[in-house]
Symmetry: C2
């Protein structure tokens, strides 16, 4: 009972105060058409509440964690600068936070990162150092910069302040749905490294004990689901795969796993086709732009057969981000 | 001073009551990046307030006018059904309104109408009759249906109830910006047939006498601007041209023109390139989907040299709709 985790409800509440006035309180949207699709063949009718972190600063929830972590660096340490490694949205979040706080930011990015995300980092004044799209290359390149410059490393999901920052979106979501007269039965949270899933699970369960918190992953990179099912975290080499949901290709972190194992109710996965279809439906019917990673939670609610069996009516779903290359054919066009 | 127009502030206020609970009160969004672009080289810094009618029912402001008009058909006349002609969004609006009210809807559409708009009409249970993409063909086809079936014709912009319904968005915009602590100096409203421009001009000036109301048009179909400059409405044969802004290809209507002439402060036009660039910026930076016609007002604020010279700070802009084929290359891709 006294087990301690990397993040607590109090940490998330402190983070909420810290980011207040800096991060947006993003809106919650609903859509009758998507409710109908989610309700079809489901154990109970569904009402979906979408937390629009695609409308967050830098176009993704990552700004919450980055700001919460970096704003805690003491004034007399800030000259050292900050370094991080990220496939994209965390990179932009760190770059913007550093710009706002007057700190030098160096970002290690795989050379495969989407152009929109690379341009975002450059636009916020971040310095980019390219690496290979592997965990080893990312870690080594970042470590080398830390060693050479003394910069402070901000891990994209294992940093406890990052986890707490991401958790703040759940506090808002619960307050916002309540002000709409609704109590959520469940929340679906996409999982890459598990920063958001761990932070939101602790926050959600802390505020509302009976809230079900579910992870969502692409089938192709379902390391969180497989870890959850067997109760032991997958090792790095056991998890690999490609997905259109480029933000979720990461294997879950160690401190994240401990929280997920004990706080999360279940993890569901969806196919690439389901992700693309969910994304298309959101664009067409809701007129908001979400990136593929952000469609994974929606896809679970709309299409996952195991999820359909659950007796949950009001379901919160995180639109995690809206950054993608708009200069290339859309996925439902290029895949036809 | 006693000159009477097709629409008055009282009509718009009545319409607002009539559509309340049926149409969405759409959100108002802001975007720092677009403010910066609009401010660059401008006489005063700009703050833009976007009225998101792309998030309205049927994905466009047209639902307001259609609902206001059709809901006023007496119960004992409704069996006759409704007929209209429209390039798209008014068609969907009439189809959905009729579905909600249990009225048969027949829609005359040019065979060139975007697939997304055609599918919308079908989805709402409307019956489509195709015609040529000319005013003559549209009018004749619709008239034939009226003659043969006795159906009630709802003109997409010359109907006074439609004009009043569209005007309701201005009442909301002024209230919403005021609750944000802002008083608008001006509003930019795209102009096709002029239903929205006339309704919003009457509503805006009625509520706030010193509000500047500006029309926005593609250069390629600038019949409203040319009419406004010479003070006499262009004849049908004087106005023609093609534009990516398919919702604005219509020549302004007669009752609309009388209002525009006397209530509107000026009309600005933008090039096809400016429309596409404005649309791309909104998608990329605001993460919301607008159709090309909806980008015309934004393009004026961002790029029009004459508009740059104006001393207006807080500017409302209508995102008129978000319906376009997502199954084809995006315009900034296909035009490269």
């Amino acid at each position: 009972m006294t087990k301690s985790y990397a993040v607590s409800l109090a940490d998330v509440q402190e983070a909420a105060k810290r980011i207040s006035g800096h991060a947006h309180v993003t809106p919650v949207m609903t859509c009758g058409t998507l409710d109908d699709i989610a309700s079809a063949g489901a154990a109970t009718p569904r009402k979906l509440f979408f937390k629009c972190e695609n409308l967050q600063k830098v176009g993704a929830f990552k700004f919450r964690g980055a700001y919460n972590a970096i704003s805690q660096i003491p004034e007399d340490q800030r000259w050292k600068g900050v370094v991080t490694q990220s496939s994209g949205n965390h990179a932009q979040a760190v770059a913007l936070t550093c710009k706002l706080l007057g700190i030098k930011a160096t970002i290690v990015m795989p050379h495969t990162a989407p152009k929109a995300k690379v341009n975002g980092v450059i636009g916020y004044g971040g310095k980019i150092v390219h690496c290979e799209p592997t965990k080893e290359s990312r870690d080594q390149t970042a470590q080398k910069i830390v060693d050479e410059t003394g910069a402070i490393f901000i891990h994209p999901f294992e940093n406890p302040h990052v986890m707490a920052g991401q958790g703040t979106l759940m506090l808002e979501l619960l307050t916002q749905t309540q002000s709409l007269g609704t109590q959520l039965d469940a929340a679906i949270v996409p999982c890459g490294g598990g920063g958001m899933l761990s932070g939101t699970a602790v926050a959600g369960k802390g505020i509302q004990k009976d809230l079900k918190v579910f992870g969502a992953e692409p089938e192709n990179v379902d390391d969180c689901k497989r870890s959850f099912k067997r109760g032991v975290k997958l090792l790095q080499h056991e998890a690999s795969g490609k997905t259109i949901a480029d933000g979720l290709m990461t294997v879950i972190g160690e401190p994240n796993w401990e929280v997920i194992r004990d706080y999360v109710d279940d993890v569901f996965s969806v196919t690439e086709e389901q992700i693309v279809e969910a994304m298309r439906l959101v664009w067409e019917r809701m007129k908001v732009i979400i990136e593929p990673s952000a469609a994974v939670g929606v896809a679970v609610a709309l299409f996952n057969e195991d999820f359909k069996k659950l007796e949950v009516e009001n379901v919160g779903i995180v639109f995690t981000g809206g950054n993608l290359d708009l200069g290339v054919p859309l996925p439902w066009v290029s895949r036809l």
